[in-house]
Symmetry: C2
Subunit: 162 residues, 2 copies
């Protein structure tokens, strides 16, 4: 079990490109209940089953277990409904040991780009790079389980994407 403390932002330019190589992620949600999510993710040659409870402030409990990729692919194809596919770029933050995880969504969630930063403490202050736009930590529309069911392209206003 671990605690996940993170903030999420939109991204307003392409200045982050070239700062890291992407990894492709494919994920889906087996079920959700009252903000609790059960996620299956395939990333590179690995797969994970992850339970997260509802966030209290910035904090969520997270339980993550590696599972066989073959199982994950079957679960994604048969139990998860719509999937989320994205490229993730892991960019070192100015703060030592912290990383910006920029997600470039594909398919029905293109052209959404978000940037998340996982913090050691709720009170940690981070310097926002120039390519960071406004914060959407508390905006449920941008949660990945919501993006699976309600893809960005269905509800975005064009002005938000650039």
């Amino acid at each position: 079990m671990s605690l996940e403390i993170e903030r999420k932002f939109l991204v307003k330019s392409d200045a982050w490109r070239g700062l890291a190589e992407p990894v492709r992620m494919r994920q889906g949600y087996v079920a959700t209940k009252d903000g609790t999510t059960v996620r299956v993710r395939v990333v590179g040659g690995e797969a994970f089953l992850t339970l997260k409870d509802h966030a209290v402030g910035l904090v969520r409990h997270e339980f993550e277990y590696p599972i066989p990729v073959e199982d994950a692919e079957t679960i994604l194809d048969t139990m998860c409904g719509n999937l989320v596919e994205k490229n993730r770029y892991r960019i070192p933050a100015k703060e030592a040991g912290l990383f910006w995880e920029v997600d470039e969504f594909l398919g029905a969630n293109a052209p959404l780009v978000t940037a998340e930063i996982e913090l050691p403490d709720e009170k940690t202050v981070v310097e926002l790079p120039g390519w960071i736009d406004h914060e959407v930590t508390d905006d449920h529309r941008y949660k990945n389980n919501n993006l699976a069911e309600h893809p960005f392209s269905e509800w975005c206003e064009r002005k938000e994407t650039k």
Copy 2:
């Protein structure tokens, strides 16, 4: 991944008692969606996270992974709502290699007793012991995830329990 093919029955006498020693199970449901369930179970000194899809006929796909007991206890206490507790008795069937799993439910699901048998094939014919009552395979009220939310004591008719 495995296929689970099973039939479930009520039990009409105590003649099964003494045929096996019980193990105590404590389980809960992280989330359910359209018949897909995500279950956490603690049994003896072990714990498992299990995904099952909706049944087609007698058949369900099942993915089961061992997880740390400490994680399981935290998940049960914080993410699962009402739990199901029961004693399970694993009784050899007349058919070689098959077992009757008699579940004696506790707490809000007492005095319910069910008997399940897992089959190698949907067409397998089994001889029903004298203590077996009518079949409830297709009765959703007796599914464990339903019993968590809607315990037997809340909806049983007394005539069904004996």
